[in-house]
């Protein structure tokens, strides 16, 4: 069956999944195109949000309703918080050594 856009409303599962895919792709573009490590971290957060939207969409439309997707999303958010904490700590440590957070200048990790 050829792909066809869902009708404008009501909001269906496909709408949620499309949004998730779009956020994931935009975040990916950010990860690939930026060189400031903190902005790359932000773009990763956008990607994780795309994944979360997908999880939540599946949880919302599943019949009979199961909330596993939402529980997963809670874990994703929690792990993302821990990831941001450690990631920024590493970035700050690199900055202290190199006075820069541009990834293409900080690729030599020999102290």
């Amino acid at each position: 069956m050829p792909p066809s856009l869902p009708p404008l409303y009501p909001i269906t599962l496909q709408h949620g999944l499309l949004l998730g895919a779009a956020l994931f792709s935009v975040g990916l573009a950010g990860v690939l195109a930026k060189r400031n490590a903190i902005v790359i971290l932000m773009a990763v957060e956008v990607m994780l949000n795309g994944v979360n939207v997908t999880f939540v969409a599946f949880a919302g439309y599943l019949q009979p309703p199961v909330l596993t997707g939402q529980v997963f999303a809670v874990f994703v958010i929690a792990v993302a918080a821990a990831e941001a904490a450690v990631g920024l700590a590493i970035i700050i440590a690199i900055y202290r050594l190199r006075q820069t957070v541009q990834v293409d200048k900080a690729d030599e990790l020999r102290g």
Binding site: A78, A81, A82, A85, L88, A89
Partner: protein, 118 residues
């Protein structure tokens, strides 16, 4: 869901309008006479010395880091608190382990003087 959350979104929209309205109103009536002295950065009347965006010290980051971890922990406790009566003492033990592990990190942060402002 939308029926109960919708009013909150409406409130955000109306509060934004309420904030913009006086700005717009005063934008019409207030005098606009900018000059280089008046619109200079105010630091006790002395011109700014050096770059404004100074580097902050690491203790600020350590507070933010500990806050994020404890905030996530508190958020995990909300579903537990709501469902506690269904879950019973087994869940209390699970939460005790959960918080206990975090308290190990808390004790470590305390010992490493992450809470000290020096």
């Amino acid at each position: 869901m939308v029926a109960s959350f919708g009013p909150v979104a409406l409130a955000v929209a109306i509060a934004t309008v309420f904030g913009l309205l006086p700005l717009f109103l005063s934008g019409i009536i207030v005098p606009k006479k900018p000059d280089s002295v008046k619109n200079a950065t105010y630091e006790c009347g002395v011109e700014t010395i050096g770059p404004t965006y100074i580097q902050f010290r690491t203790p600020y980051y350590l507070y933010a880091l500990l806050f994020v971890i404890f905030d996530v922990e508190a958020v995990f406790l909300f579903p537990w608190a709501v469902a506690y009566r269904q879950l019973g003492l087994f869940a209390l033990a699970e939460v005790a382990i959960f918080i206990g592990l975090l308290l190990v990190g808390y004790a470590y942060a305390w010992r490493k003087k992450a809470f000290e402002w020096t």
